[in-house]
Every structure is written in structure tokens, then in C-alpha cells.
């Protein structure tokens, strides 16, 4: 007899609907899975057999063939275990086909018949069209994020079959886990001194501008960067769902369901290119840049990352997505993040303070070559973070709290939305000319900089956008003033000076 069970599998960060067809017929006893299963998927045969037997069902003593359609897509992972088990039960006439009508199944099976959570539940559920979906208890809340389906769960195979045949009522889903991670966001008011850097953080958060902080060890670059996440507004519904999907596919979704707060990713500088941008030979995993979608990617010690890893960031920085292609597959994963980086000015760390650097020319040269010009160019804000004045450290200057600054940031984002973008960093050239006209002195300032070669055409747009964000923060309407542009200039220092400059 033939049974057909709808389910879905993960492909990149998207789900693909999979129909599990199980055929049980007379013949030499055996069990075959066809339709491009990978190793973890083929192993499900052993898990399903053990789960059925320990749950008190019979294993068909016949020829059993499982087909996973469409056969052209490689199925990865154990999410199809449950669908295969249900298919075997129906095909071997231990369960009536009516019991599974309009129902899809998803989950991994333990040898004792327990249903287990799998990564990527959110995108997988999105690919399923059946009105009722049965998932493991641990996946219920994630599955419920997709509003229009009825999500049911059972703790093990026996309980599930009893519920399907209406012998017992459906078990209650577990309580939503309490998310403990909300509590501790670092507070901006704790920062002493660093007026310029604080202003830069605020501008970066408000306008979505990439930020590079260069300074000696102990100046507070990392401490400042950590305060950025608290300044960013909650994600809107679309981006929240995209971010949740990526986290789900990577199997790192925190408890609490939908990701509302902008993610914060700080990969170590030993991270490989694949871990950074995503990939892998079989299952294409989302990388750090995609996990940072909608949030912040913080690269501490930028100069220590390998050149390959850094250059791989350039395309996603421009386009907001990363396209990963392998011989068999090709996926597109969202990767729209705010890049924040910190590095020392030179190997000895003291370079910015004139005459205090002890590095040789050659060492400086090597260090400067580690970060390519095109990458440095993609930072809208580049500033020197130096050790704060001792006076400022001891006598606090009443810094503003995160909540106060975050409110201003939200207001600026609101203005950006009225211009049709999520943040000012996304404004194109013509949109800038329309939405952010320059006053005559501001235009003169830019003109002089362009003529003197201090500014390139690409740099012009970046300065312009930052100037707009600065004006927005000051709740300034009308043409941008010279001081907005001058501030933007000041906050985008020449990397030649930032990174241990040569003589004079």
C-alpha cells in the first residue's frame, strides 16, 4: 500500500516542501530511501525502525521504499524522521489514512520514539501548505510564529498516534520559555569622557553607518562598541522574521521566539571565511554576517582577521545579501548588518599619539596592508578613540543614558522611513539630492574637499549621508548646514593618519 505524507526540509535558510511517499509491498524484506537523501537523512531508516518497535508498533516484514519528492533537491538533516515513520505506519495499515489527512509532520525521532526539535523549524513550516502541522514539543513556539497554521505537538510517537486516532485529546503544548537574555544591556551612561566617540555611536545607530574605531589598547573601543546594541531600535516585523529565519536555520534561535532585538555578533578574529559569510559543502549554513542581519557585526582587532575573510565582506556590505554558490546548490541569504570594527593604530598600539609609536616602517607597512583600502572606504565613520582624560574619568560629566539616546535614534529612523529607507545609510545618490539638499556654505566645503583630492565621489556620498544623520539628530529641517558637513568630515578621518602615519 502507498502512503503520502507532506513535510519539508531545510535548504540554505529557506524551507522546501517535501512529500514523503512510502510504499510497502510484497517482496524481499528491505528498506530503501531514495530521492537524494544525505547521510543524516539516510540514517533515519534506523531511527524510524527502532522508534516504531519501541513504541509498540510492528515493522513491516515486506519490501519498503521511501521516496522523498522532489527528487532533485538534496535533503539534509533528520527533520523528515517523523514523516517517514507516519508514512510507514499508514502504508503498513497500522494507521488509517484518514487520520493524517490535511496534516503535515516534522521532527526527529529518538530510538525510544521521542520527538525532538530540529533546526530551521520556522523556514521549514513556511514551506508547508497543510493547515495542521505536528511538531515536536520543543518546536511549538517557533512553529507558531507562522500565524495561519494550527500547530500541534506530541511528546512521543505513541502519544501522537493515540491523538491522531482521537483516542486521547491532543497534549497541551509546553509553556513559553522565559527569555532571560533581555536583562543586561550595557548602559551608555556608564561611559566617562569619549564625547566624540559617543556621538559617533549615536550617529552610527541612527543612520546605520558602518563605524571603525582605531585606538591604543585600553582606550575603550570594545566597551563603546558594546553600548551600540542598546541604542538600536527594535526590528520591524519583516526584518525580525528574516533574522529569526536565519537563526532558526543555523539552529541558534534563542528561546522566546521571534527575534525582536537587533542581533549582536562578535566573531573571533580566527573565524574562517565560510564561518563568516556562510556556506559549507553539503548543508549551506548561514554565516556570522547573516546571523547579524538587522543587527551589528562587531569585528574586534580588525587587522588580525585574514584578508580573505575581510574581502568577503565587501559584496554583502554593498548589497545586504550574500549569495553562496556551490557545485550543486545556490542560495541567497540576507546579510544586512551594521559593521562596527575596532583595531589598534599599529602593532605596538600607540601609533596615533604623535611620537610615541615604537614600530618600524616595515612593521607599519605590513600592518596597514592587512586591511584593504576598499574595505576602509566602506566605513562611513572612522575615528580615533584615545584613552580618556583622567579628569573625565574621575569627575563624571553626566553622560546621557542609553534610553535617552535610543529615543533620538528612533526618531531619526522614523525620518529615514519617511524617505523610504530603513536608515539614512541606504539612501541612493538621487534620493540624497532630493531629501538632503546642501546649503551654500556646506556645498562650498564639499567642493573644496573634492578639488583638493581629500574626497572621492564615493566618499562624498558617505559624508553627505552622515551629515544628514547629524542634521536629523539635531532635528534640523531644511538644507544641510556647513557644520553638519564639517562634523561628518571630522568623524571620517583619513585612514593614512589613523593607521600609524608615515612622517608628517
Amino acid at each position: 500500500m502507498l502512503a503520502t505524507v507532506p513535510s519539508a526540509a531545510l535548504f540554505g535558510v529557506a524551507g522546501v516542501a517535501v512529500t514523503v511517499e512510502v510504499h510497502v509491498a510484497r517482496g524481499l524484506p528491505g528498506f530503501t530511501v531514495v530521492g537524494l537523501p544525505d547521510t543524516s537523512c539516510r540514517e533515519s531508516r534506523d531511527r524510524v525502525r527502532a522508534a516504531l518497535l519501541t513504541s509498540g508498533f510492528a515493522w513491516p516484514d515486506k519490501r519498503t521504499t521511501v521516496n522523498l519528492a522532489p527528487t532533485s533537491v538534496r535533503k539534509i538533516g533528520s527533520a523528515l524522521d517523523l514523516a517517514i515513520a507516519i508514512g510507514v505506519l499508514v502504508a503498513s495499515e497500522q494507521l488509517s489514512p484518514a487520520a493524517i489527512e490535511d496534516r503535515a509532520f516534522l521532527g526527529e525521532l529518538g530510538l525510544d520514539g521521542t520527538l525532538r526539535h530540529v533546526p530551521g523549524v520556522l523556514p521549514i513550516i513556511e514551506a508547508i501548505s497543510a493547515p495542521e502541522i505536528i511538531v515536536p514539543p520543543g518546536s511549538v513556539h517557533e512553529a507558531s510564529l507562522v500565524g495561519d497554521r494550527r500547530v500541534l505537538c506530541a511528546t512521543d510517537l505513541k502519544e501522537l498516534v493515540d491523538a491522531l486516532t482521537a483516542e486521547v485529546p491532543w497534549p497541551r503544548p509546553p509553556d513559553e520559555p522565559f527569555d532571560l537574555t533581555v536583562a543586561a544591556l550595557p548602559e551608555l551612561a556608564d561611559v566617562r569622557g569619549h564625547q566624540v566617540a559617543r556621538a559617533a555611536l549615536e550617529i552610527a545607530a541612527a543612520g546605520g553607518h558602518n563605524l571603525l574605531m582605531v585606538g591604543p589598547p585600553g582606550a575603550g573601543k570594545t566597551m563603546l562598541a558594546h553600548r551600540l546594541s542598546g541604542l538600536l531600535p527594535d526590528l520591524d516585523d519583516g526584518i525580525a522574521l528574516e533574522a529569526t529565519r536565519v537563526h532558526s536555520a543555523a539552529g541558534v534561535l534563542p528561546p522566546g521566539g521571534l527575534i525582536r532585538r537587533p542581533p549582536w555578533r562578535a566573531p573571533h578574529h580566527g573565524t574562517s571565511a565560510v564561518a563568516m559569510v556562510g556556506g559549507g559543502s553539503q548543508r549551506l549554513r548561514p554565516g556570522e554576517i547573516s546571523l547579524a542581519h538587522g543587527g551589528v557585526l562587531f569585528l574586534d582587532e580588525l587587522g588580525e582577521f585574514s584578508a580573505v575573510v575581510l574581502d568577503a565582506l565587501r559584496q554583502p556590505l554593498e548589497e545586504g545579501v550574500i549569495r553562496i554558490a556551490r557545485a550543486e546548490t545556490r542560495v541567497e541569504v540576507p546579510a544586512d548588518f551594521l559593521l562596527v570594527a575596532a583595531m589598534n593604530p599599529c602593532p605596538c598600539g600607540e601609533g596615533v599619539i604623535p611620537s610615541s609609536c615604537r614600530c618600524t616602517d616595515r612593521a607599519l607597512d605590513r600592518y596597514r596592508r592587512r586591511v584593504s583600502g576598499p574595505l576602509l572606504d566602506r566605513f562611513d565613520l572612522r575615528l580615533d578613540v584615545h584613552r580618556p582624560d583622567p579628569r573625565a574619568l574621575l569627575h563624571g560629566d553626566g553622560a546621557e543614558s542609553t534610553a535617552v539616546v535610543a529615543a533620538r535614534v528612533r526618531a531619526v529612523r522614523e525620518r529615514a522611513r519617511s524617505r523610504g529607507v530603513t536608515s539614512n545609510a541606504g539612501l541612493g545618490g538621487s534620493a540624497l539630492e532630493r531629501d538632503a539638499p546642501l546649503s551654500a556654505p556646506a556645498s562650498d566645503l564639499l567642493q573644496r574637499a573634492l578639488e583638493s583630492g581629500r574626497l572621492t565621489a564615493r566618499g562624498l556620498r558617505r559624508i553627505w549621508r552622515v551629515a544628514l544623520t547629524i542634521a536629523d539628530l539635531a532635528e534640523h529641517d531644511g538644507p544641510l548646514r556647513a557644520e553638519h558637513v564639517a562634523s561628518a568630515f571630522h568623524l571620517r578621518a583619513d585612514p593614512a593618519f589613523l593607521l600609524g602615519s608615515s612622517a608628517a
Binding site: P354, D361, E483
Partner: protein
């Protein structure tokens, strides 16, 4: 072009281009006959010729022209030269120098700079780009390690700038580190011309990183070399180059050097020629200043700044300062900001605190002050400039 029309200098240039020919061997080659005669004899050298078949030129070369080589090495070298000579067209090579705007002068000609002609180890031929008349004034050479520290580079830059401003031509080798910083400083002064002596052909810019500096020196001053076009920078050519720097230097200042290195060799050459040798004191804990500190122990005059050098050269003890302020006075608001700017570089943050101004307004004032030459800023640090550097 007929054979007759080729000037004798062209043959000297061609001889200088032969492989493994430095100043000493070029002198040997020119001692055994007229340049054109030597060249043509070399062209006729064949591997199989016996002692009796040798031309008189080659015979003289074999007899006493090439010291420190064994008989077989001499034969090998002359055959190597013969092969190289046959593949080089003298008139084309000469024309290449004319086309590239390279000046050529041969030892003994009236245009040969007297400072080199008077030396006991003179170059046989000089190539230059720029204006050779710039050699006329008082010259101070600034030399030092290529692996310079920030301290060394800053001092070299300031010495170069202040010496040039005082009318002293700065001589250096266009190498990385101290050499480059010294010439950058000299160029910034826009006063006395920079003089560079390099160890490769004038079309072989070495190091590549100094291509822009190389051009600027050629435009404002002169670059000198003993080697014709196409000669690569070989390690053995640099000590020879250093002796030319020592010859040119009325005062030689070693800015920063380890115990060994080209700069120490230059100091020895300059001492032998009786020139003033000075050294910049460095931290006793820094290995990068080991050599310069040792020079001071050995009795060299310390050079702390341009004034020390000027005194050693017997010039005015105080460098000329422009008597009148040429900068336009800043606006009252900018002047108020200027009051708060220290003579040592300080971060912008301190200014924000001191003035209480908004970042944008402050940045505008500082830009205006910088445009008029009152302050210098880099990467968020601002410092005041004492006087105009024109």
C-alpha cells in the same frame, strides 16, 4: 647614425652598463685605452682566441686591469663583457639617455662637478635628473636606517625641513625610513633644493614605494647616479652610492642607525674625507639608536636640531625666522578656539570640553584655522603651528 657621429661619452655610458662593472672596474676599463677603442676590442673578443691573438686593450686588461681575480676569472669576465657588448647598440643606448632627459657627464669633462673631481675615489661617469647646478651650495647629508622608528623619522623630517629652510641643500639616498623622511621634510620647506644619490639606473625607481618622492626630488632638486639606464639596484652598489653621499656632505648627520648598516659605512667614508660627522642622540634602550649613540661616544658632534648642524657648519647660530607674520589673522571666534589649542597635539575632545562648542562648529573653526596655517590636524588630534613654514 654613422660611427663617427657617436660621441666618446656614449662609449663610456655603454661600458658602465656592462655586467659586474662598478666604479673601480669602469676606471680600469677607461685606463687601458680610448672608450671607443675599448668597446670595439671587447666586441671582437671571441671565446677561442689565444693569448697571441688578443688585442692590445684586452692584453692590458688581462695584465693589470683586474685586481683580485684569477687568470681564468679574468678570461671569463672579459668573455662575458664581449657577449654583452655585442648585444648592446651604443648609439641607441646613448639616444635613450637623451630622450629620457638624463644628464651625463664624464670624469675630466668641464661640466664634471668639481666636488666629485677632487675626490680620491671619484665616479668615472655621472647621470643626473634635475639640475646639476643645485650641487653648488652648502650641503648636509641626512642618512640612517631603513627600519626607522617613529622618533627617527620625525627627527629626520624636522632636520630636513629646517636645514632646507636655512638654505642648506639636504643630501640623502631616497631609501625607505630616514632617507625618505629627510627628503619629505626638505621638500616641505620649499627652500634649498634636495639632492638625492641613488644606487640604480635613474629609470629603476627603488624602492617602489618612493616613486612619488623620487619625482618630487627630481622636480625640485637633482637625483644623481653612477649607473646608466636599466641598471638594477644590486646590493653591492649601495656602499658605492654611500661614498658619493659622503663626498657631497659638508656635514653628515646620522639620524638613526643600528650598530651596523649602510649609514655607519657612510659615516666612515665621511670621516676619511675629513668631513663633519654628526649623530642624533637616541634612547639608550633602543637598539635602533645603538649606532648613533656609539658615534657620539666615539666623539661625533651631537645633532639635536638644525641649529646644531648650522653651528657645526659655521653658519648663523639661529635659523632665519620670517620677521613678519604672513598668515591672515583668524576671525574672533576662531581666535578664541586657537587660544585653547596647545602646542603639542591634543585630542579634539579636550577642545570640545574647553570651548563648550558643538562638534560641527568647532570642526568648522579648525578647518578655517588649518587652511590659514595656524593649526595642523590629523585623525582627531589638533596641534598649533608656531610660525609659517614658507
Amino acid at each position: 647614425m654613422s660611427r663617427r657621429a657617436i660621441p666618446s661619452d656614449a662609449f663610456v655610458v655603454a661600458l658602465a652598463r656592462l655586467p659586474q662593472v662598478g666604479p673601480a672596474r669602469l676606471r680600469s676599463l677607461l685606463c687601458v685605452g680610448e672608450p671607443s677603442e675599448v668597446w670595439e676590442s671587447l666586441c671582437r673578443v671571441s671565446p677561442s682566441e689565444s693569448t697571441s691573438q688578443r688585442s692590445s686593450v684586452v692584453g692590458k686588461l688581462m695584465a693589470d686591469g683586474l685586481d683580485r681575480l684569477s687568470e681564468t676569472q679574468r678570461v671569463g669576465l672579459i668573455e662575458l663583457w664581449g657577449r654583452a657588448a655585442r648585444s648592446l647598440d651604443v648609439s641607441t643606448f646613448w639616444q635613450a639617455h637623451l630622450d629620457a632627459g638624463i644628464g651625463v657627464t664624464v670624469f675630466g669633462s668641464p661640466s664634471f662637478p668639481p666636488v666629485f673631481a677632487a675626490d680620491d675615489d671619484p665616479p668615472m661617469v655621472l647621470f643626473w635628473k634635475g639640475d646639476l647646478d643645485h650641487l653648488a651650495g652648502v650641503r648636509a647629508a641626512l642618512v640612517g636606517t631603513r627600519r626607522a622608528s617613529r622618533y627617527g623619522r620625525d627627527v629626520a623630517f624636522e632636520l630636513g625641513r629646517d636645514l632646507a629652510a636655512a638654505g642648506i641643500a639636504v643630501v640623502s639616498g631616497l631609501a625607505l625610513g630616514i632617507d625618505g623622511a629627510a627628503h619629505s621634510g626638505a621638500l616641505e620647506a620649499c627652500a634649498a633644493p634636495p639632492i638625492a644619490v641613488v644606487g640604480s639606473g635613474l629609470d629603476r625607481i627603488y624602492p617602489r614605494a618612493h616613486a612619488a618622492l623620487w619625482r618630487r626630488v627630481a622636480d625640485a632638486g637633482v637625483i644623481i647616479s653612477e649607473y646608466p639606464l636599466g641598471a638594477p639596484a644590486a646590493a653591492w652598489q649601495f656602499p658605492a652610492r654611500n661614498r658619493l653621499i659622503a663626498t657631497l656632505a659638508d656635514a653628515l648627520i646620522v639620524v638613526e642607525s643600528q650598530h651596523t648598516g649602510g649609514a655607519m659605512g657612510t659615516a666612515i667614508e665621511a670621516t676619511r674625507r675629513g668631513g663633519v660627522v654628526m649623530a642624533v642622540p637616541g634612547p639608550v634602550t633602543a637598539s635602533s639608536s645603538d649606532g648613533t649613540n656609539q658615534l657620539l661616544v666615539d666623539g661625533c658632534v651631537p645633532a639635536r636640531d638644525a641649529t646644531d648642524v648650522l653651528i657645526a657648519l659655521g653658519r648663523d647660530s639661529v635659523p632665519r625666522r620670517s620677521a613678519t607674520e604672513s598668515r591672515r589673522p583668524p576671525s574672533p571666534e576662531a581666535a578664541a578656539v586657537l587660544e585653547h589649542i596647545a602646542w603639542q597635539a591634543a585630542p579634539m575632545e579636550q577642545l570640545l570640553l574647553a570651548t563648550g562648542l558643538d562638534l560641527g562648529v568647532l570642526a568648522l573653526h579648525i578647518d578655517a584655522l588649518e587652511a590659514e596655517g595656524w593649526v595642523a590636524q590629523r585623525a582627531g588630534w589638533v596641534e598649533r603651528i608656531g610660525r609659517s613654514r614658507s
